[in-house]
């Protein structure tokens, strides 16, 4: 295990971080939309959201990625592997984040929603300006958890042809016959990234505004 090999792993970890960060935020946006659909009162839209969430929480991420990777070309869409990886991870994390957000939306004090309505906010405005910010703030710790899960789950995107930290480790292990130090180093890099995320999240949580009183 040389410094050069470790550098290659570090470079590949930038791809891990890039894919994870994009997926987490794309997933968060999609999760808000799913929550809106679920609370829309329209049976079809709510049912579709529930089915989406159930499917992406019920099928292993590996199988989802294989499905997207093989299905898209068949229906005439060819995407670079980076896009496929981000789509796969985003869809999966959106389902989990929507489930987390549900708790947040249920925790929004009813009085605040009523005040907004009294002040003449439409249902859409109440959703965008009152319920969503509060739900997001309440579920911030769950978002951090999900971010760490996605960082780890991004190790699977090699199956759609992405070279990130785990795939790089696999390649190097195969070419140098040193799987032990190489996979251990890859694990160490994941560990350090996750420790930094957890530490930064604790700092961020202190800086965020407090929650509204019940």
């Amino acid at each position: 295990m040389t410094w050069h090999l470790f550098q290659l792993l570090l470079q590949a970890s930038l791809m891990t971080i890039f894919v994870s960060v994009l997926s987490i935020f794309a997933g968060l946006a999609l999760a808000v939309v799913l929550s809106a659909l679920r609370m829309s009162g329209n049976r079809w839209m709510a049912g579709g959201a529930v089915l989406f969430i159930s499917f992406f929480r019920g099928v292993p991420l590996l199988v989802q990625l294989l499905l997207i990777f093989n299905l898209l070309p068949v229906i005439g869409i060819t995407l670079p592997s980076l896009a496929t990886a981000i789509i796969g991870l985003s869809l999966s994390t959106a389902a989990y984040q929507a489930e987390n957000l549900r708790g947040g939306f249920e925790g929004v004090p009813i009085g605040l929603i009523e005040s907004a309505e009294m002040a003449g906010f439409s249902r859409m405005q109440t959703f965008v300006y009152i319920r969503t910010p509060i739900a997001l703030r309440m579920t911030f710790p769950a978002l951090v958890n999900e971010a760490i899960l996605i960082l780890k789950a991004s190790s699977l995107v090699s199956v759609v042809g992405m070279v990130e930290l785990t795939k790089m480790a696999q390649n190097l292990a195969a070419s140098t016959y040193q799987p032990l130090p190489i996979f251990a180093s890859a694990g160490l890099i994941y560990l350090v990234i996750n420790l930094i995320v957890a530490f930064a999240a604790r700092r961020a949580e202190d800086a965020l505004p407090g929650l509204p009183a019940k």
Partner: protein, 220 residues
Amino acid sequence: MSFDIAVILAKGPQILAGLGVTILIWVVGTFCAVVLGFFVATARRFGGPVVNLVLVVPVEVLRSTPFLVQIFLLYFGGPYIGLRLDPITAGLLGLSIYGAAYYSEIFRAGYLSVPPGHVEAAECVGFSRLQTILFILLPEMALLVLPPSMNMAIILLKDTALLSLITVPEMTMTVSAIGSQQYAFVESIVVLALVYWALVEAANWLGRITERRIAKLSVT
């Protein structure tokens, strides 16, 4: 492109064999993970600060690194330190150790939830430590640890799919192989996804029933 699911379904017996391996590894692995996790949590609860420190490091490392990297390390790195395992054993061992880290945290939270007064009361009436654990701590935390334990079991079920990458002949590997043999990759992955979805929903349903049963037994 024709979507011909019959090609895949004709391989029913092979798929069932893969499903059998998936379920076997899942059930045995989860059982070992729960037992090992319980021992780790118990050692951390009663073992004093040194034991706690020795155990907290592996638990945090296992929880902060991808399962895939862990099984690669075990399966491909193991032989270099004399640990030559066949895929199923490596998969089972990997799943058990990885799951144990999460279950130990679940049980740790369970131990913390029991009021210290109950443990002291048990000690005062002459309960041994084992009796205190079996008759006071475990029953009191059962209701609290059950939902996260069920969740974790479902996560482990889905993680068994990763074992296909170290050539464990479980369902994902079996069905993907059929897909490539028959040039029916999309069909095979669709079947695979549907089977997992059904399995997970069934496990969810079983979990909810168990929770309701246990909740009825609760006195508080």
